[in-house]
């Protein structure tokens, strides 16, 4: 493995699944194959934090499974840390960490500490390094009081932090997180994001994050890869995604009295409901001049800005077809 090469290198990756489909009106089922992932090419350098997003069924999980060696690709190439994930799966496992958001790897009936100690043995982590890491993660993730509590008694947020600690005890070079903040409250989400950012800053751990939560991406990822129908439709910074997707932000204006649709440069009224009006403007434009223009000409009771919904942005991208727009 060359020191300068990318940590994750995916080239023309393809995976098909054989399915049996029932043809209308016939009893026999026909064998068919479905392209879950195709023509997928990207590279991730060590230390990057990448958001890997797309709608359900787009091929996110399939990709992650090929990156971790769970699934064998049917075409193309994958290299992670210089290894072939499928052939060297067990070897690679020592160098990566994986957290599946909705499935815990912890022992339900036993205290957190027991699960951690088993992992220490499975990964053959030296006693000293294990202690160091445990102390540090427990401190950062505020798990001190929970170490001796059976996992079944932990809250969802505590369990997620437990799972993340479990995935990090062996100092992986890459951490794959699948929906890490799903179901967490705002405070837990914030704390988790802070922790992940610190992990990346201090240890240079590469993060690959699949999520539906735009805020996860905004807080953490300098780069997003959008996948749809099995292939990458966008690869670049989040800001660029908004521009490419032609997405817009919404300014919600509460006027003192009902009024006809307001007229300001750079924004258009989308909806009027009594004194409340919804104005949309391009996501990459500043809200300040629009707010100023509205406030200068109308009596405003209240204002708020709605960020574009990532789902909408991505939907916009899909409708343009699976052509790569901005590939590094």
């Amino acid at each position: 493995m060359s020191a300068t090469g990318p940590l994750i290198d995916v080239r023309d990756l393809e995976r098909t699944f054989a399915v049996r489909r029932r043809v209308d009106g016939r009893r026999r089922r026909v064998r068919d194959s479905v392209l879950a992932v195709h023509d997928l090419t990207f590279a991730v350098a060590a230390g990057e934090m990448v958001g890997y997003i797309g709608p359900n069924g787009a091929g996110k999980s399939t990709t992650i499974k090929m990156l971790t060696g769970i699934l064998v690709p049917t075409g193309g190439q994958v290299r992670v840390a210089g290894l072939d994930p499928n052939r060297d799966r067990v070897e690679l496992a020592r160098r990566i960490g994986v957290v599946f958001g909705q499935r815990s790897t912890l022992w339900w009936d036993l205290p957190l500490r027991d699960s951690f100690e088993l992992l220490q043995k499975m990964y053959r982590i030296s006693r000293a390094r294990y202690r160091d890491n445990l102390d540090r993660f427990v401190d950062l993730l505020d798990l001190g009081d929970q170490l001796d509590t059976p996992v079944r008694q932990l809250s969802l947020g505590q369990r997620m932090r437990g799972d993340i600690t479990a995935a990090l005890l062996h100092d992986p070079e890459v951490l794959y997180l699948d929906e890490p903040t799903i179901g967490l409250d705002v405070v837990s989400k914030g704390r988790l994001r802070e922790f992940l950012r610190a992990l990346n800053d201090e240890r240079g751990t590469t993060l690959v994050l699949t999520t539906h939560d735009l805020q996860d991406i905004e807080a953490l990822c300098d780069r997003v890869i959008v996948i749809d129908h099995g292939t990458s439709v966008y690869d670049g910074p989040l800001a660029g995604l908004h521009a490419q997707g032609g997405s817009s932000r919404t300014l919600v204006v509460d006027l003192v009295d009902e009024a006809p649709p307001v007229v300001v440069p750079g924004a258009t009224v989308r909806r009027v409901e009594g004194p409340r009006q919804w104005l949309s403007f391009p996501a990459d434009a500043s809200a300040a001049p629009i707010v100023a223009a509205v406030a200068a000409s109308y009596d405003v009771a209240d204002l708020s800005i709605q960020e574009p919904d990532i789902e909408d942005v991505i939907r916009e991208l899909y409708s343009r077809g699976p052509e790569p727009l901005d590939r590094r």
Binding site: T62, L71, R89, A93, D109, L110, L118, K121, M122, Y123
Partner: protein
């Protein structure tokens, strides 16, 4: 690494198993009840044989003590394999729930993890019951040093044969996830068959149980030697010493099927 890999894997296996035992001990009453219940249910098997012998003097020329030896050795081998492999037969469930995916991201061979997973001493019930029957039947055997050797190798090889059958047939679930019943027909089915003297079956069945599903090597052939009997089916005498070969071959075949199953594994949707 100084340690051979097999030793390392065995140790990991025991470490994982130990955690499961401790987890089960969080509910001691349920643990004890299940173990006792398991022993009683398997014990009924033998009571069935006993009742049959109350009406018969022999079964195809075999006395109760001799059938008890067959029954005890097969049960013991099955119990050893069953305890060691734990939940490999539930691999379809693991695939559906994504648990297998998690195991595949750990630096321990998948088979070690699957076998150790949900390790339970509940099966001690079967083990104890089988050991009692076998011990009792042993008191009627005319022991020689070679016979002791054959008896020990019989139990170990029998364990290997069942282990191989369980693992091999469980692999069907890599292709179709709901094949537990199909697998059970061969594994538990094979185990049930070995509780009787095989000469009650037509010769074709004996040939099948020798070369296809080699459960005849679990107890039938070595027990013939222990009892000093000539094979009523007229199979080669060498078979009576061939159990280790059958064990190793079954195991090797099972590992090959396992590897190809893992490669064909298609995971679940998400």
């Amino acid at each position: 690494m100084a340690e051979p890999r097999a030793v390392l894997h065995l140790r990991t296996y025991l470490q994982i198993a130990w955690l499961w035992i401790r987890a089960a001990w969080q509910y001691p009453t349920s643990f004890v009840l299940l173990a006792v219940g398991n022993g009683l249910i398997t014990g009924l098997d033998f009571v069935g044989l006993w009742i049959m012998f109350a009406h018969l003097d022999d079964l195809a020329g075999f006395t109760l003590h001799e059938v008890a030896l067959l029954y005890g050795s097969a049960s013991l081998a099955l119990a050893i394999a069953d305890t060691a492999i734990g939940s490999v037969e539930r691999i379809g469930t693991y695939i559906r729930t994504g648990r297998l995916d998690q195991m595949m991201t750990k630096p321990v061979p998948l088979l070690v993890q699957v076998c150790a997973d949900q390790f339970t001493l509940r099966r001690l019930g079967r083990l104890t019951q089988a050991a009692i029957v076998f011990g009792w039947a042993c008191t009627y055997v005319d022991w020689t040093p070679t016979r002791v050797l054959v008896a020990v190798s019989m139990l170990l090889s029998g364990g290997l044969v069942f282990f191989g059958l369980f693992v091999g047939f469980s692999c069907v679930q890599f292709w179709t996830t709901d094949a537990t019943e199909f697998a059970n027909a061969f594994t538990y089915g094979g185990a049930t068959v070995t509780q009787y003297p095989l000469n009650i079956f037509p010769r074709e069945v004996i040939v099948g149980l020798t070369f296809v599903i080699p459960v005849a090597f679990v107890n039938w052939y070595p027990c013939l030697y222990l009892l000093g009997r000539t094979d009523p089916a007229g199979m080669p005498e060498a078979f009576q010493f061939a159990s280790p070969v059958a064990g190793v071959l079954t195991m090797a075949a099972a590992l090959l099927v396992w590897r190809s199953g893992v490669r064909h594994y298609t995971s679940t949707g998400s």
